[in-house]
């Protein structure tokens, strides 16, 4: 700020200071602040609970998508070309599928535990199962699935 502006600011503040006592009146009633505090606490709890809900949606969608893909890929093809396998498998397809299925089970179990814990109702985050574990498990199951596709 240049010296002229600074001087103008000082002059304004000086004058504002003269009005300060009058400007500061009135103050909010005690019950106003109490009401605002209560509303803010309630809104904070609502916002916190909204996050696990989206996690729940993510988990449900992820599992549903993986299951749908599994159904599509394991179902017999509508048009079967002779001597052409559906998936060019280098490894044992049964073992890959079993791996993937086990990983999917793990992920499902973690999500179920997470949902049963009702984390949005708990106040201590330490009591809530870590959502990251469930997401990692789902990622792992999807990786297995990709292995099958890529195999």
């Amino acid at each position: 700020m240049n010296p002229i502006d600074r001087q103008a600011e000082l002059r304004i503040d000086q004058e504002l200071g003269a009005w300060a006592e009058l400007l500061d009146r009135p103050t909010p009633a005690p019950d106003t602040l109490q009401r605002v505090r209560a509303a803010v606490r309630a809104a904070a709890r609502r916002e916190r609970s909204a996050r696990p809900l989206s996690l729940r949606m993510r988990s449900a969608l992820g599992i549903a998508a993986a299951a749908a893909l599994a159904l599509v890929l394991t179902a017999p093809p509508l048009v079967q070309t002779e001597n052409t396998p559906n998936i060019a498998l280098q490894d044992d397809p049964a073992a890959l599928l079993a791996d993937w299925s086990a990983a999917l089970d793990d992920s499902q179990e973690l999500f179920s535990r997470l949902l049963e814990d009702d984390p949005w109702l708990l106040t201590d985050p330490a009591e809530v199962a870590d959502p990251a574990d469930a997401i990692d498990a789902l990622d792992e199951s999807l990786e297995r699935f990709e292995e099958i596709l890529g195999a």
Binding site: I12, R25, A43, A44
Partner: protein, 193 residues
């Protein structure tokens, strides 16, 4: 007022910790209320907008990047809400003439805080002066009023006020100077009538 722990409180508030957010109400509620009351001239409206200001803080604090300008961010929310409220009032055709505003303004019915003085007469004089000040503030152009109230209640540097209002620093200073000059003149006139 929040002690030096503003950073820690804001970190908790960003995680939507209810107690941290309530602490922000304790720390800033009075000043935000003062700004809203003087901008709207109505105790009821200031009550409502105070709550809405802090509810917006709850909803949007995740997006706030703490760079030491929390107050600027908070008071900007409050000032925007007051401006929106005034705009909606005008749109609804509820815009009142200045004389009518004077008649209807809640300032006539304001509850003043308990006074320690043993002279009730002094308190009455203060109350009357407060009403007069509000009438004079109401007569100022909205943008001028906003600048001096933001300076007083939000204690924002003029540079930030100018940024907030999208005007050059010199313009903000000139408007504040003009507003105070007019306030001083009107207060004198109003007192004589």
């Amino acid at each position: 007022m929040l002690p030096a722990g503003l950073d820690a409180t804001l970190q908790r508030a960003r995680r939507r910790d209810p107690e941290a957010l309530a602490a922000l109400v304790d720390a800033y509620g009075r000043r935000v209320y003062g700004l809203l009351f003087r901008l709207t001239g109505s105790r009821d409206t200031a009550d409502d907008l105070l709550q809405e200001t802090f509810l917006r803080v709850v909803r949007t604090i995740e997006s706030y990047e703490h760079d030491g300008r929390f107050e600027s961010w908070l008071f900007r929310i409050a000032a925007n809400l007051a401006r929106d409220h005034a705009r909606c009032g005008r749109r609804r055709g509820a815009s009142r003439s200045l004389s009518r505003l004077d008649e209807e303004s809640d300032v006539r019915g304001i509850e003043l805080p308990a006074c320690n003085t043993t002279q009730p007469g002094a308190e009455l004089v203060h109350a009357e002066a407060g009403e007069r000040l509000q009438r004079c503030l109401d007569r100022l152009p909205e943008s001028d009023r906003e600048i001096i109230l933001l300076r007083h209640f939000a204690e924002l540097p003029f540079r930030e006020i100018a940024e907030m209002l999208g005007v050059p620093l010199g313009t903000a200073l000139a408007r504040a100077h003009r507003a105070l000059e007019r306030l001083r003149r009107d207060m004198g006139d109003d007192g004589e009538t």
